[in-house]
């Protein structure tokens, strides 16, 4: 029996549902015991565990310290969701004045303690495995849990959403209908859900942290502009989920 903990930071909790769902498979439940999971188990403090899943991004000092202590208590750390892996959609606020942001959201902003920066978990501690997604694909998690139970890990396939799109036999929405689509520069894993409904990918698994540089991303932006997209919309879309990766690429060099 592997002991499991789930720790939630700043996020919408969408990935939590996928975690709960994964633990409904009998072959998985038989190999894992949930020790700490605020949504499921009535335990105040996380003890030592074999695996911890960390969901969400880091917004303040408290979360940063929590993550460090969690790392010390866990044998294996999995960052779950685009927030934990790349900062998620909330990192769009980076670059704006943090007080303005607080005021825009909260009635009494003086009680809100947050960094001006948003940190992915992977920036703060060493992570053993990542599962991006907004939310994550449940089958990626069950695959991880099943393979970890045999002493292994799923193979890492680093590719664009396009690969999954073509393997599903879908026609490219960008090429065939001029629909702006972030598939070519977005990490795979979703199974090309949006293109399967004739929509463009909006990059919720985050910008590819491999193969891209400023020149390539700019060429891609020009392509979206040719399809009639507004510059601001393109920027928002590219920054959207993988802001940290996007800004690293645009600062120069490869991600």
């Amino acid at each position: 029996m592997y002991r499991v903990a789930v720790v939630k930071l700043t996020s919408c909790s969408g990935c939590i549902n996928e975690i709960v769902y994964a633990f409904t498979f009998s072959d998985i439940v038989s190999k894992y015991r949930i020790e700490y999971f605020t949504e499921l188990v009535d335990v105040e403090e996380m003890g030592g565990v074999d695996i911890v899943f960390i969901e969400g991004s880091i917004s303040n000092k408290h979360q940063e310290e929590l993550v460090k202590s969690v790392r010390a208590k866990a044998g294996f750390v999995v960052a779950i969701g685009t927030c934990a892996v790349m900062g998620g959609v909330q990192s769009l606020r980076v670059g704006s004045d943090v007080n303005d942001v607080k005021k825009a959201v909260y009635a009494e902003p003086q009680y809100i303690e947050v960094y001006s920066d948003v940190k992915p978990v992977t920036d703060v501690i060493k992570v053993d495995f990542v599962i991006p997604g907004c939310p994550i694909n449940g089958s990626a998690l069950t695959s991880f849990l099943r393979k970890y139970a045999f002493g292994g890990l799923p193979i890492a396939v680093h590719e664009s959403v396009c690969a999954e799109c073509k393997r599903r036999g879908l026609e490219c929405v960008l090429v065939a209908r001029g629909v702006p689509c972030l598939g070519p520069v977005t990490v795979s894993g979703c199974g090309a859900i949006c293109p399967s409904f004739g929509r463009g990918c909006y990059g919720c698994y985050g910008i590819k942290y491999f193969d891209l540089n400023r020149e390539k991303l700019e060429a891609f932006s020009r392509r979206l502009a040719e399809l009639g997209m507004d510059r601001d919309d393109i920027d928002a879309l590219l920054k959207g989920y993988g802001f940290k990766v996007y800004s690293a690429i645009m600062r120069g060099g490869e991600a």
Binding site: E159, S160, R167, L174, V185, A219
Partner: protein, 403 residues
Amino acid sequence: MDNECYLHKAKYVMLETRLLNTGLAKKVWSCSTMNTNELCGNNCNLFVGGFKDLGTVVKLLQEDLGGVRLFGYKLHNDRIEFGEMKDFDEIPTTVADIQKPGYFRISSTGYRFRHSFSSPKAFLLPPEHSILTVSQGYEIVEDGDGEMGVVFLGIKPCDRKAMSILDGILYGKSPVYTKRRDSIKAIIVEECLEPGETCFCSAVKAGPTISSGFDIAYARLYKDTLVFKYGSSLGEKILVKAGLQKAQDSHVKAYFEMVANAISMMNSRISRVEELQKALKERIGDKSFWEKVSSNCVGCGNCNYVCPTCFCTEINDIVEEGYSKRIGMWLGCLTYTYGLVAGGHFRQELYTRYRHFVLHKFLFYPKQVGDVGCVGCGRCITWCPLGVDLRDTLNLLVEGGTR
């Protein structure tokens, strides 16, 4: 002129175009020395009919073979894809495709369809296919699918050439490919008399006509005027049974003129492919050249997946409760994972993977299967979301310089 001479005229135009490209144009048209089979095969024994006759031909073929399924390009919800057809009339006859780098549309103003993002590869080597099912106790669980018989209807000469290339790599080796290849009982090819804007099949000798490796071929002279020919005794039997008329001189003349025009149009778009190998050998280690030509490439792999000859696969274990399914899945060489191993990466930089794509098609395939691995269908150009044009790279290679 008789049929033979029209053929020679067409060959002459073809040769002349080729020679003009190399700057060595001279009169070479000589009726007595030409191999009449090279262009269309079977001494251009042409028949004429309409789509109704094609329907008859398909029906007779199905009856003759018994219980075969039809696979081909079919029009469905404004989308054309390669797949199983309920009936021959699903074949696209009332629409045209408009293809440009990074651009594809179906238009109702024309009637000539070239090809779509999918190809016979989707049948022969499915994007995800089971290679083995294993129990937790390391026992093999047999899961063979039943025997089937298939007729390919309306595939293009480039598609047929792509099958020969895949045969060279996979036939007799890959279980899924071999089984599916063996299931093909007959091939009906549609020749292309008006190439698309991204087509260059004639430059790599993959089209626009076909001379062998098919049972029946047809070309659409006009909307409902088809020129038929047979490429096998089965094909001959069926065409005779269908009672098709011999083509008249006017049909033959129009056919060859259109073929000749198609060839000269395509050849004018691309440099001397025959000089590519030398250029590739010289440029193989020229990092800055390859970085330059791949500067707009984002490594999405669309070119690989739409390519009718790309066959690379990854093998992934999908674990279910109590057993594991080993799945072969398409993995393009443009994707980051290609060359990535635990503890290292053989092709970390994207330019090396773009280079591999080009080298493989034009330098390595000839050594692997005895022929260039590109069939000039232009799918990689049309379906590249950034419109990266392989022909630009090839032209730069042959003409030198980095633009």
